[in-house]
């Protein structure tokens, strides 16, 4: 506890310093108002004992200067006989209390302790007030963010609808033109023209593929925004995870074989049915397997499902490039694909994993990843099941 003693009387300064030391305070002294203000600015004090009548800047003026610099430090006026009126004025100006000269040490120490206790309580109260204000500001900011997120979702949804309509025409016309060209081709006998027509047909095919990819992306955005906004339609029914997995594996294994990869499925026989949306769960399985296919260049992709306690644990393990730990959370963020951090940039915009995560969460489950660069990745889905579904 650091006390500033301001008094022009050397005897007072000496006695106060000695006695306050004895009571465990550390003391700095000043013999006039100006040097007191100067010291006060440089050092942190817990309280000030201030003489009222001093040469130069008097006690009242000094008090005003100290209060200007730090109103939270309690100031106790030390007054000689006959100064009561001025002491009262000092209290009106913000001094904590006054003690009379000759200074009674026990009274001074008591007054100091009370003053510092009060200052500490006031500081605490102020902090409390501040934290309440901060909480309410945070709440406001949070509400604002929720509102902005809602507007963004609505915007994405409407813009996606608007893009989908012209895209349907583009795909439609490209398809018609291509069909016409295919029909026309056998009638062309000029080799050069036939080659040109063949080129145009190929270009149209590329346009259609790309347009279809765009449609798929827009569908994904629509799907994600609808799920986020809670307006997506779900068809809840008892579904067999085993069937969904077998179907996904069967439809994708030709693509794995084509890339020289092995797709192995190990699905336990006792996997119970769950209540779920079959199309969306199918979408998740398809997505996880496609991802494994996309990011694995050689080796095996293993797809397993087992019953564990009250849940079903599905894992898709690949021997691909793996994902650095710092990115494990990022991959579930919207529009964050890790393609550009790998050697080849795979196609897609990075909506598959966020959508899959949302779907699994809507089923009360968890989708997580464990992975190490160079060692492949394991995506794990845990889905709860309820006995009544299987009765």
């Amino acid at each position: 506890m650091n006390i500033l003693v301001v008094d022009d009387d050397e005897m007072v300064r000496y006695v106060l310093t000695e006695k306050l030391h004895e009571s465990g305070f550390s003391v700095t002294t000043a013999s006039d108002g100006n040097s007191a203000v100067e010291i006060f600015q440089k050092t942190e004090f817990n309280a000030v004992l201030l003489d009222l009548k001093m040469p130069g800047m008097n006690g009242i003026e000094t008090l005003k200067e100290l209060m200007k610099r730090d109103p939270e430090v309690p100031v106790i006026m030390v007054t000689a006989f006959g100064d009561i009126a001025t002491a009262v004025e000092a209290i009106k100006l913000g001094a904590y209390d006054f003690v009379e000269k000759p200074p009674q040490m026990s009274r001074i120490v008591l007054t100091l302790r009370r003053a510092m206790e009060k200052a500490a309580l006031e500081r605490e109260l102020k902090n409390l007030g501040r934290s309440i204000a901060e909480t309410s500001a945070l709440k406001q900011a949070n509400n604002k963010l929720i509102e902005l997120d809602r507007i963004k979702t609505a915007f994405l949804s409407s813009i996606s609808h608007e893009m989908r309509t012209p895209l349907t025409s583009i795909i439609g016309y490209a398809e018609i033109n291509r069909a016409k060209l295919v029909k026309l081709a056998p009638k062309i006998h000029d080799a050069k023209t036939a080659r040109n027509i063949g080129q145009v047909e190929e270009n149209l095919a590329i346009m259609m593929t790309e347009a279809n990819r765009l449609t798929e992306l827009i569908d994904n955005v629509l799907e994600l925004t609808a799920m986020e906004a809670g307006t997506a339609n779900w068809s809840w029914a008892p579904v067999s995870i085993k069937e969904i997995m077998e179907q996904s594996v069967n439809s994708l294994s030709p693509l794995f074989s084509k890339k020289g990869l092995e797709l192995v499925a190990e699905i336990a026989e006792d996997i119970p049915k769950i209540r779920g949306d079959i199309n969306r769960l199918d979408q998740v399985m398809g997505h996880l397997l496609s991802n494994a296919l996309k990011f694995t260049d050689n080796g095996t992709v293993m797809c397993r499902a087992v019953k564990s306690g009250n849940g079903i644990v599905i894992t898709v393990t690949d021997s691909g490039k793996g994902i650095h730990e710092s990115l494990h959370r990022v991959i579930f963020d919207k529009f964050r694909q890790l393609g550009d951090t790998l050697t080849e940039k795979p196609k897609g915009v990075g909506l598959g994993l966020p959508i899959s995560k949302l779907i699994i969460e809507y089923h009360g489950g968890v989708l997580s990843v464990a992975s190490e660069p160079g060692k492949g990745s394991i995506f794990t889905i845990t889905l709860p099941f309820y006995d009544e579904v299987n009765k």
Binding site: D9, M11, V15, M54, P55
Partner: protein, 116 residues
């Protein structure tokens, strides 16, 4: 002693909470500073400087009170009040009484032990 107690040792020790060592220490400070302070006070009164007279008389009043020199303190207080009222004639008058008391206090202090 001379009909009144020039230096009340008990009074001093009371506010010093019985600390004799400290009483001796403040006595030394008092003896070091008071002759100059009294000389300054006299000069201020002579030149009619009410502000400095008020302040100097006030300081001396406090120091004398701490030493238990209650008459000297009271006389200094009278000078202070005169200065506040801008009545320097009255201040001069009180200074005479004050100066006599001051001499007594100094003698008492310089006597062996000095605090009786």
């Amino acid at each position: 002693m001379n009909g009144h107690n020039v230096l009340d040792r008990e009074q001093s020790l009371q506010w010093l909470e019985g600390d004799e060592r400290m009483l001796n220490r403040i006595k030394a400070i008092f003896l070091k500073n008071i002759p100059n302070q009294v000389r300054d006070l006299e000069a201020c009164i002579e030149r009619g400087d009410t502000g400095t007279t008020e302040r100097m008389a006030h300081t001396i009043m406090g120091s004398a009170a701490m030493m238990g020199a209650s008459i000297m303190s009271a006389e200094a207080r009278k000078i202070e009040e005169s200065a506040i009222k801008m009545d320097m004639e009255s201040a001069k008058h009180h200074y005479t009484t004050f100066a006599a008391e001051f001499e007594k206090v100094m003698m008492a202090l310089q006597a062996d032990g000095g605090l009786e």
